[in-house]
Symmetry: D3
Subunit: 243 residues, 6 copies
């Protein structure tokens, strides 16, 4: 019997997931996350204060930037700094990460502080945006803790409303599968990224027909699989934060 | 009794939709589409031949660019040409339109021809990307007809696999609503754009929690509403093409 | 007898000119102007206040930006936003429009208010810059009225010193002609754009030998024709404002 | 009696004009031109061959680039290379110089050769574009001679149809004046640049009302003055070429 | 007695140096190098063939790009991709790394192959350019081996002429010190980077007076210290390659 | 016997050096420097005040920008303003000039004043960066004198700590040579630029192996030759300042 997936996983299994918290000596929060061979360094930079246009409203701001090292991928890609512009895909993912993180932060409770999350893909093997979001949550949690210890955040405030995790799902040869590696992603007819809270509610759902359009039943199957995946990631995040 | 919506629509109604086909004397296909006060000029540029890196494979290419005039919106936005870079939102929508259109085109049947769809928002009142996709389909259909008449496309080929329409849906004060105008969009807690085929299958589903995360039941309600909306748009497109 | 011009006009006739005032629901002033198949959407954005470097002098500012949609022309042109820079021709025309409009505005009477005129060419068939100036004057007039109604401009102030119109003239096969369409423009040996006030004085005169240099007699003939043309446009503007 | 002009000139006099031919050891043609304190280094780069899109038509191409050193002016201007974009004024003048030079070159006689003229303003005191054109003509003439000696241009071909010179004129306090220095230019109500051939015909006429619009009589007066000025420059160019 | 250096090193000691060879699963050669808390990921991308302008000469090319993650440093730096341009320091270091590597490669022996070395600083604590060069050499060596195994490089060819290592030295309070950490670098009056071969000859010497100019005796002292440092690094590289 | 150098110089001789002080009527300090056929226009722009981020510290700032005219070199180079970015080499040299000048300026004595030095290469024949530094020193000295006369600099302050000169040296066919012309520079195996004070101490030493790495003895020989060269330049600068 041939295996469905190159690494022997069943369709509903995540790849091995690891979180290396506190990877950076420089950042206020950091996490080197890996989903199989996908490795993303997430750092959180905490600044007391907000941009001038936001000042005086008692609210903070969280934003994110995503990027890939030129040789994270199988063949080298030119640097966006050298090309002089940020590509559409990079823009799109940076916006997704920032928007997702803001959904679990109470900006009033954060107070007038700014957190920038940088997600740099050191090695890419599919699912870089979902690994980035899942790791970014841990870097964010560390940075919030750092801010609380230094009293930039009020002791009674609870800026984190929930935890956040993300996973990709897709349909390959008719079978819905969880957490696609690059070679699987290429073959998937439908591709979906789901960002969910620790409570199992949706923050973002993005499904795309790469090949044939998909019907409601397929969509439902993918959503079931995705929520099971983010639930597992939530548990792994809980363990990482407990260390 | 107060009205739910500023223009008196029921939650499941589209705004008045019009298609002005053949608006441009210059383009091979064109349509000025309006969804209420949102007006988008869609033009299709047909070129015989494909970029060098695609040549010799017997396949064509369809791509799209979206942009907004600086005073399409209520306050003026600086031009991206003057700023010297395309913004993230613009990039994201251009990619969405191109990807969606490609889902209903058989590239083999198109043959080695390139179609570029430009969607320029002349006036914006919410739902610009969904109006753009819905109008772009008509411009594309015209351009394909133009190509067939000039024998750039084989007589027996049927490059269009299906029709394509898109609509936005959102939850406002707990009520799912169809085709949000700008003031509604701003108030929506959850915001979703759905691109669907004339057969009622999904090409793209993008749901975002602008406020609180949403649950499965809310997601299901929005999908129901969206499909009803795209079905109505499909019928209007059919009438426009029949004229 | 063969016709001199493709559309049967005599050399001294304008193409059909229309002004669709108040086209935009968003802008403080707007006009969709057409000179034959050339269509330009002109919007005026009125802002109370001036840039910091001008503040405190009791004077206002008027500026303009011109741009063409990528498929306004017969073959598609790449977007300047995508190329990352504004081209020389675009710069040149934007500067011409702004300079011309400022010649009929009393900046003291305008007070510390800023007006930005955007001229976006939706369809191009020659004479886009002259159509833009002629339509921009109407958008400007509307925006000044808007500012006066909201008391941003003093009731007694008369910021508009005169009306403004522009037209192109050229010599084709030895015959001076008014308001050249694109195919005529290409054939013209000498090409001139004239911007004039309602009183018939010159604001800008730009004559260029595309082929052989021109002599004083030819220059004089072109100026006569141009002033006759701007006088007709002035009358059409007067009627449009009276509606 | 007070002098009309700061340097004691009568209204119809040029400033002292000098041409330093062959200034550059590197370029195929060069001239350091000065109109009073305005100094422009003009170099002509001759390349055998034309850009690919022009090849095979037996015709050449002439183009120009204008730029100012950052401290050519009284206060320092940021470099366009550092700002990352070429400004509108620079673009406009580069296009003017190139267009003007092409008006006196027979592209067929030039053959498939390309000449790029660089006009770099080393010191600016008004009239930089007219000095640039006048000096550029000499650099061009040298480069054509260079090309003929090396047989890139046929012995019997006469690519230069005429000579070319340019001068500014303006109305200051009601008096038309020739060749404005910077302090005069600032005061001028109407400002005109005229490019003319050695035979006294017009190549380019650009008149702008900086203050009040101008009438036909003023325009005529300025044209008379300008042609007298370019005639004098033509004579000085003839002498410089004879050396 | 107080310690001279924050980490207790004597002036002539390197920080702990580690080389993690083969870090990347994607690149043809890679090394994660650390000099104390400075960590640089070096990847080598091997391409069979050379850019068109170099083709047909039987020679290869080696080039390098250096960059820093935004939060590699103590406070966050804006991304160069977002700013739209590569900064002077980045350019300068990229050029230094490429030039240095080329000094130990025989381009004829490499044959028509291209190697691009990317050095991305994941964490910065002084000496990032010297760590980058020292690690880049190992990535280069791996990539050359990869190319030889796939026969892109002739079996008898020996493209690597020597090994390459680099170290920084500086004078702090009058004492010459080896391999400066960031806090030391800031205090150094004179700062020098030396790139040397395994044989102990110089490839690049860059000494800069940050404070007072330095004399010949100080220069000599720094060079002695640097060569001792690169000799130690050479030995560590030899061990890493032997693993 | 054949001559070692194309212009008959002995290896330890400078090319003819001239300084044209006060070349610019616009700048506060200026010098047109030539080293043989290399000609660089250096202007110093003195501004009372410092950038906002430096204000209130009682210290000044000196910075520099280097650029080459497109046809300074034997074949034309595209303008960096047109390419939209400053190249690595330009950046590197601008930084070198600024850093070198700052080494001989006491920023406290300068007070809150800013000096920008522009070095524009009008003609290039090797050694442009060393000629630029040597001329920039004279422009700087003039601008400081200008600032003192206008009392922007305190009468007792001596912001200039020393004079500054720079020269290139290189090894050609085994012979160390001073002040390389372009054709020599191309042949040099090792290339070094040395910036030194009038007292003979080093401000910057940059040696690069273009071919084979160099040993300590070669390095020592080059340094000897360079210091002799900068000493001669110091003497010529002294004479120029005395005029």
């Amino acid at each position: 019997m041939t295996e469905l997936r190159i690494d022997g996983r069943t369709p509903d299994k995540l790849r091995p997931v690891t979180f290396e918290r506190g990877w950076s000596k420089q950042a206020e929060g950091s996490c080197l996350v890996s989903f199989g061979d996908t490795k993303v360094l997430c750092t959180a930079s905490f600044t007391n204060g907000v941009p001038r246009w936001m000042a005086g409203k008692g609210k903070g701001w969280v934003t994110a930037e995503y990027s890939m090292l030129p040789r994270a991928t199988n063949s080298r890609t030119d640097r966006e700094s050298v090309k002089g512009k940020v590509g559409g895909r990079t823009h799109e993912i940076s916006r997704l990460i920032g928007r997702s993180l803001r959904a679990v932060v109470d900006m009033k409770a954060l107070g007038e502080n700014t957190i920038v999350i940088d997600c740099d893909v050191l090695q890419a093997d599919g699912g870089t945006r979902t690994a980035a979001i899942t790791g970014a949550y841990l870097a964010l949690a560390e940075a919030l803790e750092w801010g609380r210890e230094r009293k930039f955040i009020a002791q009674k405030a609870t800026p984190l409303l929930d935890s956040l995790a993300a996973v990709s799902v897709g349909i390959i040869d008719g079978v819905p599968m969880l957490d696609l590696a690059y070679t699987e992603d290429v073959r998937a007819g439908t591709d979906m990224n789901v960002v969910a809270t620790g409570s199992g509610t949706f923050v973002e759902v993005q499904g795309t027909a790469e090949g044939a359009p998909f019907d409601r039943a397929e969509l439902d199957g993918l959503l079931d699989l995705a929520i099971a995946g983010t639930n597992s990631l939530t548990e792994l995040q809980r363990q990482a934060l407990a260390r």
